[in-house]
């Protein structure tokens, strides 16, 4: 599986580290994101907060809209496909998308199987709530992982839970004896080789970003201090009162996530944050899609 293309795809994710990937729905928003210092944009027709509000089946975006965003910016452009919808992925590959997000934000197309991502040349990022999910997605060919924080809510609690859980499980795997790894692999339902990598290196074999519910510079810095290597911001920017200012502030917060004095300055006068929904008020838990 560690072929040349897979390696190049993992390495593109390495170049995104320390950066912010922003959801955008129009070329104008993409330009705002790029000017604010985004390291990539996620092109989609509706941001998660609106998908949640609208209900119904949510699918891959119109290729014309994705092309428009590809033409508007020079940074990498990502786009989402439904879990298991390998034809949507084939279409995005034909568009030469830079990264595909096989995402629980859209309605799943398959309630058993994820896409066999080893069959594609373009890279995939997938969500994970725990170490088992992360390693299963990597085994299927994902070259980047993100948390599955509840999209479109502006509530950080689930992204925090997933990041803490993944990192706690990594520490536990590190502490095992070598002959205990076989049983651990069985219990986590993951391949032994990937678990052995985690045991030896104390990290996932691919880059791990935070996603879901990030709405403020403090949220972004929180995820970085918890061990995220970068962040996705979805509804948090373009559902807020001053997208330009908030986007730039989140970018700076990710770069200097340990500098509390700077974070205080960045958090000042950002205008209205997205209103958000608390975890207990959510009717649809998107993170439960695909395991």
């Amino acid at each position: 599986m560690e072929n040349e293309r897979y390696r190049l795809n993992k390495e593109l994710a390495q170049m995104l580290k320390g950066g912010v990937i922003m959801d955008v729905t129009t070329p104008e928003q993409a330009k705002i994101a790029e000017a604010a210092g985004a390291c990539a944009v996620m092109a989609l027709e509706r941001i998660p907060a609106d998908i949640r509000a609208a209900g119904g089946v949510s699918r891959m975006s119109d290729p014309k809209m994705i092309r428009g965003i590809q033409q508007a910016v020079s940074i990498p452009v990502m786009a989402k496909v439904r879990i298991g919808h390998f034809v949507e992925a084939q279409i995005l590959e034909a568009l030469e998308i830079d990264y595909i997000d096989e995402s629980e934000v859209l309605s799943p197309a398959d309630d058993v199987y994820h896409i066999d991502k080893t069959k594609f040349k373009v890279p995939f990022v997938c969500g994970a709530k725990d170490l088992g999910e992360a390693l299963r997605r990597i085994n299927e060919g994902a070259s980047m992982i993100r948390t599955k924080g509840e999209p479109g809510t502006g509530d950080i609690v689930q992204a925090v839970r997933h990041m803490r859980k993944i990192n706690a499980e990594i520490r536990r795997v590190q502490s095992l004896l070598e002959d205990e790894l076989f049983d651990a692999a069985k219990n986590l339902e993951v391949p032994y080789d990937l678990l052995k990598f985690v045991h030896e290196n104390g990290k996932l074999p691919v880059v791990n970003f935070a996603a879901g519910g990030i709405a403020t510079p403090a949220d972004a810095a929180l995820m970085m201090q918890l061990g995220a290597e970068g962040v996705f911001v979805g509804s948090g920017i373009f559902k807020s009162g001053n997208p330009e200012k908030r986007a730039a502030a989140i970018v700076k917060a990710v770069t200097n996530f340990n500098d509390a004095k700077l974070l205080a300055e960045l958090s000042e006068d950002l205008g209205e944050a997205m209103i958000g929904i608390n975890e207990g008020e959510i009717e649809l838990l998107m993170a439960e899609r695909g395991k």
Partner: protein, 190 residues
């Protein structure tokens, strides 16, 4: 010896790991106060040049680092780092340090599907592994710039006095030739 690695965004840890393997001390440069620390040279890593360029402005670091380079501090830019140093960026009106007499093309091989690996000569070293990720290349150089490597007819590594650039990512391989070349520049040997 102490190397500052610009750590605003991108693959800076990978550079620090290579330096550690070569037993060279390095520090992360994240804000203006880090620039007052004692460093013998600086690495500008790969990442997104638009993001790094914006952060250099926002954190008021651009002019200070530009001064260091013009005063002779050895600097090594990979990929996005090379774009930061170029005097001319063909498909962009923005300039960053603009201290090196090269003209570069961003995303010269297209999108991620155009990313590739190659093995080619770097200076006197043949068979150097090179990783190109959404890479730029150098379209042209002034006569004071020494070309160190070409791949498929495009210039991918060059040196102008204290400035070294590569369009590829030596920090993503376990080959240390390019980093050793940079350390020798600092020691005044090439």
């Amino acid at each position: 010896m102490n190397i500052g690695v610009l750590s605003l965004q991108g693959a800076f840890i990978e550079h620090r790991n290579i330096l550690e393997a070569l037993h060279v001390n390095s520090i992360e440069i994240r804000n203006k106060s880090d620039l007052s620390k004692n460093i013998d040279g600086m690495i500008l890593p790969g990442g997104e040049s638009t993001a790094i360029g914006k952060l250099l402005m926002d954190f008021d670091m651009l002019d200070s680092i530009k001064n260091f380079i013009e005063e002779g501090m050895p600097v090594f830019g990979t990929c996005a780092g090379m774009i930061l140093l170029a005097k001319n960026i063909e498909n962009s009106s923005v300039k960053h340090f603009a201290t090196m007499d090269i003209s570069v093309v961003r995303n010269a091989y297209g999108r991620q599907l155009g990313s590739f690996q190659a093995i080619s000569a770097f200076g006197d070293f043949d068979k150097t592994p090179m990783t190109f990720i959404r890479a730029p290349y150098i379209r042209s150089v002034e006569s004071n710039v020494k070309i160190l490597s070409t791949v498929n007819g495009n210039i991918v590594a060059a040196q102008q006095n204290n400035q070294l650039v590569t369009a590829f990512h030596p920090e993503l391989t376990d080959n240390t030739v390019v980093h050793e070349y940079f350390l020798n520049m600092i020691k005044g040997r090439c």
